[in-house]
């Protein structure tokens, strides 16, 4: 790890100021489980690390009926998963938080950090850059791409967005508040995640001087659930995930939101699956047809066709889980 300055502001505003002074070489420290590992591996070499630990205004979870949920960016995954109101109204969000990492990681990992963490692509982590380039060519298509994207992978980005929370937050219609030197702005998470097209571009619409301060989730439109396919029982990156919200009219699904995770450089919304669910009564067959619709346009790479199957199953099981909720 290279030497760096360590700043500990006590508010979001102060944090932004500290970032603005060195915009090109600062990084934000939230839980640290990602940034510190990147620094140790020389994947990131900030000269200033701005810790958000003492910024009290970034903490807290509030729920107001009619308005929904406000989650401070520094709320830990553990706090989110254990919150009674979140459990009552957003079981899908609890399922997403509870499945992330290990207890140790959930105790330090934050909601903001979960959205901003960098991809786990092993070429990126080996130092080949976010787009895994060598001699002007991506190493992924002809390489070890078993964990890479099956959607949105026409290149040069092949990694998958790693956030556990993002698919569920998008399905719930959440918004992310960003604060920078020019003030604050709100973005739906589907706009926050972007696919980079050249080395140096980021996978988030987040300026170097901005931080996430909070996430706002509107009242749930109906039963919601999240399903994660991963090989190990705990502490493992998922192979495919799905977040589902069903808006019900009696026993009929009037409309649905379906968002997949770990399948594309961004969380992958599936209007096809949503269409397959609209107007239907939930059954095993209907859920499976939604899964099938979700993956029909998948474009697997040389070693990840199995992820198409897993994405389909994740959608199916998330729909069934939501219907049981």
């Amino acid at each position: 790890m290279e030497a760096f300055e360590f700043a500990q502001p006590t508010s979001a505003r102060e944090a932004v100021k500290l970032l603005a002074a060195k915009p090109e070489s600062s990084e934000v420290l939230a839980g640290g489980s990602d940034v510190l590992a990147r620094m140790k591996d020389s994947i990131s070499t900030p000269t200033r690390l701005v810790s958000l630990h003492n910024a009290r205004d970034l903490r807290g979870i509030e729920y107001r009926s009619g308005q929904g949920l406000r989650i401070g960016a520094m709320v830990t995954l553990e706090e989110l998963g254990a919150n009674a109101e979140v459990k009552r109204h957003y079981p899908g969000l609890v399922q997403a938080a509870e499945n992330a990492g290990s207890p140790q990681i959930r105790n330090v990992g934050t909601v903001g950090g979960n959205l901003c963490q960098r991809p786990r692509c092993w070429y990126y982590r080996a130092g080949f850059g976010l787009l895994a380039m060598q001699d002007g060519k991506s190493l992924v298509p002809n390489g070890e791409n078993r964990y890479h994207a099956i959607f949105g992978n026409s290149g040069p980005a092949y990694f998958v967005a790693p956030s556990n929370l993002a698919p569920m937050l998008i399905a719930l219609g959440a918004k992310v508040r960003l604060v920078g030197p020019q003030g604050s702005r709100e973005l739906p998470p589907e706009k926050f995640f972007v696919t980079p097209h050249a080395e140096g571009e980021r996978e988030h619409d987040l300026k170097p001087t901005e931080i996430i301060t909070e996430v706002m989730v509107p009242p749930a439109q109906g039963p919601n659930a999240y399903y994660e396919v991963r090989q190990k029982a705990q502490f493992d990156w998922p192979l495919a995930t799905a977040g589902v919200v069903l808006r019900m009219s009696g026993r009929t699904i009037s409309s649905a939101r379906v968002v997949l995770g770990q399948v594309a450089p961004i969380p992958w919304a599936s209007p096809e699956a949503e269409q397959a669910l609209a107007g239907k009564t939930v059954s095993e067959e209907v859920a499976d047809s939604a899964g099938l619709a979700a993956v029909q346009k998948a474009t697997p790479l040389s070693h990840n066709e199995y992820k198409v199957t897993l994405a389909r199953v994740a959608v199916k099981r998330a729909v069934l889980r939501a219907a049981q909720a």
Binding site: M1, E2, A3, S42, R120, W122, Y123, R125, A126, G127, F128, Q134, L139, N142, G143, E144, R146, Y147, V229, Q231, K232, A233, Q234, F235, D236, W237, L239, H303, N304, E305, Y306, T309, L310, V313
Partner: protein, 720 residues
């Protein structure tokens, strides 16, 4: 064993400690963190060492410039490990070693070293033999034929099964990484705290390379966090660590490998892939074996696996093996070298043949057990029914593919294994002090398995004392030579030397106190903390009273193995049954239960013996389901040199485990035989067979990851 021998193991009726369930004597020290490991060793003035490693798997060093690093304040010594012109053959190979005041300075210095490489194309493909042959990286090392193979396979009366089987290159994943602290006490004397499996052996290696005398090198290792075969030798980073100490004016230097280096350079288990054809007559009698197999353990290739495994007596065999040379970190002994891989190929092929014959695999293996080496046949005949009973085979086994109607299918699989495990050469000193304390001292090491405890049990049993009465001193090369801990030879070796030394010490004590008990030495016995006359137990001395009669002179005896009377033997057998559930929609395997029935001759400590088997099965589950060193063919880089994508099982992945140790007549009289390796052999084959039983098709290679399970289910599984 001759009955007259005074050293022989006590009869079952006389054993008060041997074979009982006894907790480790160093358990509290480990659980409380008081036990010190190499990593915890911080002598005053300690410098931290770092190794700059090659980022390329295949390259030639063009230039090395250390001048900028040298000038960094706090840097105390820099050594160029491999000179300009050297052809590097694997990623992570050592280039420059640095000692500095802190780890951070050493790392900063490593970043300031400028190395220029001429990058050469790496070759890392091992699964596809055609690619390796084309690249001239495959070297045939075995071509053997016995009997008339053509005729055996052409007979119209045989059923033939053909398949492709294999298992990836994996690592040892010792929780404590490789490393040492080296300290030149003066120009001629080197002290090394090393995480090692070979305390007594290593002084010589250091001495030879560094121009010292072996007695002037002291190796110390009180506790270690696993070796599994990867920590015998003195590594290049160990030698460089010592040289750094010398260059830094005799300050101690510590180099412990980072996890990435541990996975890149500190040893692998070779892969093994093979096309197997196996034939049996319609009644299930094996009549022929053909194998075309290959594997890699790095540049040097890999050792020849023992194929066919266990069923060595199959008539009509044709075997071909090629060692594939790849630009990857080299292989080291990995718990039962070559056996787990050979089991996957053999037991998988036999299981597929049994399915083709519509036979229950246990019935099939039992029918052919006469093809195993003779001493093992009886053991397997005992063990197979016991394992079947404990695993509830009759209840849960079913013909292949009938694993249930839902998406989750359950299945059972079985495998057999064997290992040698005769006790190694061992010397010890047993001292009975006048104050009553007893010390057993030997240059052995406890890899974390309970060696200390076994030594204490044997001495205590022999002297009629409780386990706590024995002080065990190991982990120092200045103590009497005792063999390296490898090949499951330690318990047989150290318990035999301790037994001989303790019997002699006991007899010397008898001789010293006999006059005061009014008896001759051969009329005495040591039991329950007393020395008494066998025929009249009222004539007795407490242990302390007896020892006080020694005056100022302790008794010290030397125990040896081998020695008079054969106390240890070789050749154990074991059976394991895996019980799995497979989610056929996701390809994810969940272990329901692992059952092990294991023989190791005379069990010294039932508790640590069972622990060995539990640990072996956990390691086995891990390599069966998760482990694979993923190397990128384009760059030669290891893509998962971490605990994130080099997966190990967690608690949630470990099922109920049932362990049954074979004991009693037919087992005990063979004396202690090694146990560390054998139970690690079968899990791969047993789990693979259980998955085939559950889903009706073979997943051809380990690890059994969801992609492969789904491919097998969709008929795309065979990639040979």
């Amino acid at each position: 064993m001759a009955t007259a021998c005074k050293y022989e193991w006590p009869e079952a009726s006389e054993r008060k400690l041997i074979g009982k369930r006894i907790s480790r004597i160093d358990g509290p020290a480990k659980a409380s963190g008081r036990a010190k490991y190499t990593y915890d060793t911080n002598p005053p003035g300690l410098l931290q060492g770092k190794v700059l490693r090659s980022p390329h798997a295949h390259a030639r060093i063009t230039s090395v410039d250390t001048s900028e690093a040298q000038n960094l304040p706090g840097v105390r010594a820099i050594r160029v490990v491999q000179p300009v012109g050297t052809e590097i053959q694997w990623e992570g190979d050592e280039i420059v070693a640095i000692a500095a005041d802190t780890e951070e300075i050493a790392e900063d210095a490593a970043r300031k070293v400028k190395v220029v490489y001429e990058v050469l194309p790496p070759f890392v493909v091992d699964k596809d033999i055609e690619v390796a042959r084309e690249a001239k990286r495959a070297k045939p090392t075995t071509d053997e034929t016995t009997g008339d193979v053509e005729k055996a396979f052409q007979s119209p009366d045989v059923v033939i099964s053909e398949g492709f089987y294999g298992t990836s290159v994996i690592c040892h994943c010792c929780l404590e990484s490789h490393g040492q602290v080296t300290h030149f006490m003066d120009d001629q004397h080197l002290k090394v705290w090393q995480s090692t499996q070979a305390v007594s052996v290593n002084p010589n290696q250091y001495a030879q390379v560094l121009g010292l005398k072996a007695p002037d090198v002291e190796i110390l290792c009180q506790n270690m966090g696993g070796g599994f075969g990867s920590k015998f030798q003195v590594d290049r980073w160990g030698i460089e660590c010592a040289r750094l100490s010398k260059d830094a004016g005799g300050k101690p230097v510590k180099i412990m490998l980072e996890r990435a280096a541990e996975l890149e350079v500190a040893g692998t288990r070779p892969s093994l892939y093979g096309k197997i054809r196996v034939a049996a007559s319609k009644d299930g009698t094996l009549v022929g074996w053909q194998s075309e197999a290959w594997g890699t353990g790095g540049v040097a290739g890999a050792g020849v696996p023992p194929l066919p495994y266990v069923f060595t007596g199959i008539p009509n065999q044709k075997k071909h093996y090629e060692a594939v040379s790849t630009n990857t970190g080299g292989a080291r002994a990995w718990r039962a070298p070559n056996h787990p891989q050979a089991a996957v190929l053999t037991m998988g092929a036999l299981d597929d043949l049994a399915a083709k014959l519509n036979m229950d695999p246990i019935e099939f293996l039992t029918k052919n057990i006469g093809l195993a080496p003779e001493p093992l046949q009886r053991i397997y005949r005992d063990e197979l029914p016991k394992a079947a009973e404990l695993a509830e085979w009759k209840k849960y086994w079913h013909p292949r593919g009938l694993g249930g109607s839902g998406p989750v299918k359950r299945g059972l699989g079985v495998s057999l294994h064997t290992w040698g495990g005769r006790g190694h050469n061992s010397n010890c000193n047993v001292t009975i002090h006048p104050d009553g304390s007893v010390e057993v001292a030997l240059g052995s090491q406890d890899l974390g398995v309970g060696t200390r405890t076994v030594i204490a049990i044997v001495a205590a049993e022999t002297l009629g004392l409780p386990v706590e009465a024995i002080t065990v001193n190991i982990g120092d090369s200045h103590l009497p030579y005792s063999g390296a801990s490898g090949g499951s030879t330690t318990v047989g070796g150290v318990s035999s030397s301790t037994r001989r030394g303790s019997v002699d010490a006991r007899d010397a004590l008898f001789a010293a106190v006999a006059p005061s008990l009014g008896a001759s030495a051969d009329q005495l016995e040591a039991s329950d903390g007393h020395i008494c006359v066998k025929s009249d137990p009222s004539k007795s001395l407490t242990w302390k009273q007896a020892c006080a009669k020694l005056g100022a002179k302790p008794i010290q005896t030397a125990g040896k193995n081998p020695g008079e009377c054969n106390l240890t033997s070789s050749g154990v057998g074991g059976v394991q049954i895996a019980d799995v559930s497979v989610d056929t929609e996701t390809g994810i395997i969940k272990m329901n239960r692992m059952t092990a029935v294991q023989d190791c001759g005379l069990v010294m400590d039932l508790k640590t013996a069972e622990s060995q088997v539990y640990g072996a099965m956990i390691m086995g589950i891990t390599y069966s389901l998760f482990e694979e060193k993923v190397v990128d063919a384009q760059t030669g880089r290891t893509l998962n040199p971490n605990m994130e994508f080099y997966r190990l099982a967690g608690y949630g992945d470990i099922p109920e485990m049932v362990v049954h140790m074979m004991t009693g007549p037919g087992y005990d009289e063979r004396g202690p035989v090694g146990l560390a390796e054998p139970p690690t052999v079968s899990p791969g084959a047993a789990i693979s067979n259980a998955v085939a039983n559950a889903i009706g098709v073979r997943v051809s290679t380990l690890p059994l990851t969801p992609d492969k399970v789904l491919a097998a289910l969709s008929g795309k599984g065979v990639t040979a």
